[in-house]
């Protein structure tokens, strides 16, 4: 099967035969490469899986902007005028949800009563999806509860709770969004903003179409509202997401870097094996030179041996790493097919390429040494 290959590249034939001469030594040398490749590829893939699972929790935070009154500048609430400005600054495609907050006495069906933070929202249908029931649009009466509240208090649409002495019907249970989002409704209670007596708003959520649009909105809002005096604090979650991603990339690079050390160790073991074999085969190499092999030819044969060790180790390593990747993705993101994402294939490829490069580099010195041996000295024994 390999005969045409050997005919074309006789160095491969000679190299392969030489390696099989000391089988266990060759296998051990490439075992180092196997381990190095597995370390690089699986740590890389592990990092990817981790990042993937975190960012899927973070969800689409990137397109959210939170505007709150700048309490340090003495602003306690955002006025209707501020809201108008924010709406204009954010543009027509972004949805703007002003929120009021107050603490009220809440009594649930089962008779327990607690002080709870109550949110007033203007237009919940544009921000949330209902997991049960239907979000009224416009939202003028009733109450919306998050999933955790619903679960804890065994609420479902149609039940009633009492807020500050007024009995209210639960209209819908809000589906949770990403857990890191400030909008996440899972343990909140929402009332129509019209039912609040207080005038100002505590927070405004702006949801843009994309991360870039969110960034533009944030800048426009800052410009408009903080122009003359400092009134609001604008937080972009996108930059937070970017930071998290950057941190992960650093962690990942460090991990892969540590793994790369194992490949260097593997390279040293190849160097060692090759040096031993040049000493053992001194006479053979001398004969090759005597019968007309140029230094370069000897170099080729020796380098080919190192390369074959690397290829063998690399192939086995990639094969094992692929399985490790399947396992990692099965246990972390619970999605085995995530293994075949492009970036994981990149890690496999990089690990393989690195294995080959390390092997060739390690073979360089022994090969050079063998090639430069004087045939006369070598044949004298």
């Amino acid at each position: 099967m390999l005969d045409p290959l050997y005919r074309r590249f006789p160095a491969i034939l000679m190299a392969k035969r030489n390696l099989t001469r000391t089988k266990s030594r060759s296998v051990l040398a490439s075992l180092g490469i196997v381990i190095g490749v597995i370390a690089i590829a699986s740590l890389g893939m592990f990092g990817v899986a981790l990042e993937y699972s975190i960012s899927s929790q973070l969800g689409d935070l990137g397109n959210q902007v939170t505007v709150s009154p700048d309490q340090e500048a003495g602003v306690q609430k955002l006025t209707e005028r501020d809201i108008q400005k924010i709406r204009r600054a954010a543009g027509p495609t972004a949805s703007v949800s002003p929120v009021k907050q107050t603490v009220e006495r809440v009594t649930y069906d089962r008779g327990r009563s607690r002080n709870e933070l109550i949110y007033g929202i203007d237009d919940p249908a544009s921000v949330y999806n209902a997991s049960e029931g239907r979000i009224p649009d416009p939202f003028q009466s009733g109450v919306l509860v998050g999933e955790d509240v619903a679960e804890d208090e065994e609420l479902q649409p149609g039940n009633t709770i009492t807020v500050n002495g007024t009995s209210m019907r639960v209209r819908a249970v809000l589906g949770s969004t990403s857990s890191y989002s400030q909008l996440n409704p899972e343990n909140r209670i929402y009332l129509p903003v019209t039912s609040f007596e207080q005038r100002g708003y505590q927070q405004v959520y702006v949801t843009a179409e994309s991360g870039a649009a969110a960034n533009e909105s944030a800048m426009a809002i800052r410009e408009r509202l903080n122009g003359r005096e400092q009134r609001v604090v604008v937080q972009e979650l996108g930059s937070l997401v970017d930071q998290i991603n950057e941190t992960f990339q650093v962690v990942n690079t460090v991990l892969v870097g540590i793994a790369a050390i194992s490949l260097f160790v593997a390279g040293i073991s190849i160097l060692n094996v090759m040096l031993m074999s040049t000493v053992e085969r001194r006479e053979e190499i001398g004969v090759l030179r005597a019968v007309g092999y140029q230094k370069l030819d000897v170099l080729k044969v020796m380098l080919m041996e190192a390369t074959l060790l690397g290829v063998f180790g690399g192939v086995v390593g990639v094969f094992v790493s692929a399985f490790v990747g399947l396992a990692i993705n099965h246990y972390t993101v619970e999605d085995v097919t995530a293994t075949f994402r492009l970036i994981n294939l990149w890690y496999l490829l990089i690990a393989f390429a690195f294995a080959i490069v390390v092997s060739i580099l390690s073979g360089l010195y022994p090969a050079w040494k063998a090639a430069n041996e004087e045939p006369v000295d070598a044949l004298r024994g």
Partner: protein
Amino acid sequence: MTVIDARDLIKRYRTGGRTLEALKGVDFALEPGEFVSVMGPSGSGKTTLLNILGLLATPTEGQLLLEDRDVTDLNDRKRTLLRKRAIGFVFQHFYLLPTLSAVENVEVPRLFDRDRGREARARDLLTRVGLGDRLEHRPDQLSGGQKQRVAIARSLINDPKIVLADEPTGSLDQETGRQILDEFRRIADEQGVGIIAVTHDELVNEYVDRTFHLVDGEFRWVTLDA
């Protein structure tokens, strides 16, 4: 015409501050088809002479002509190329590659050439030295005499002008040694290859045209047609 012509070869080595003169002005010429031996005690400079004639080493002084071309001062690359084109080597310890079959061993000198007829030629050479039934055997499956025949076939793969043999019978019993010497004789006669055998073995002298006796780096006498 001579295949190889050495004029006044001098080789000096420096060892530990002392200069050792291994060859002290050796003249030597070989005709095509001639089979000669160089005899002498160890330390007489035989191996040095063989290395210089085989373009494995350069003389300190003197001149070396290969087919009337001055090859004394060529660089390593050119000497290597000339060795390949014109010179075959046979060694006492055969030096076959243990991982290659007989045919592959014969092919070794030309392995890096684009050469379609190489394998057929190797088979043919092995058949001619009587190993037609051992083509695919590895060296460890061959006897000493068979290994030396493989080595002879290898030395002939490039159609050399000269074959240099370093103690070719040194590792063989007398009977096998005779067969190998017969082989050399036949190659010299039939193919017109000049053969130089460096040896201790008196047996060789029964087969050669001339014997050069080397003592202390000088030819002391030459025996003709023993």
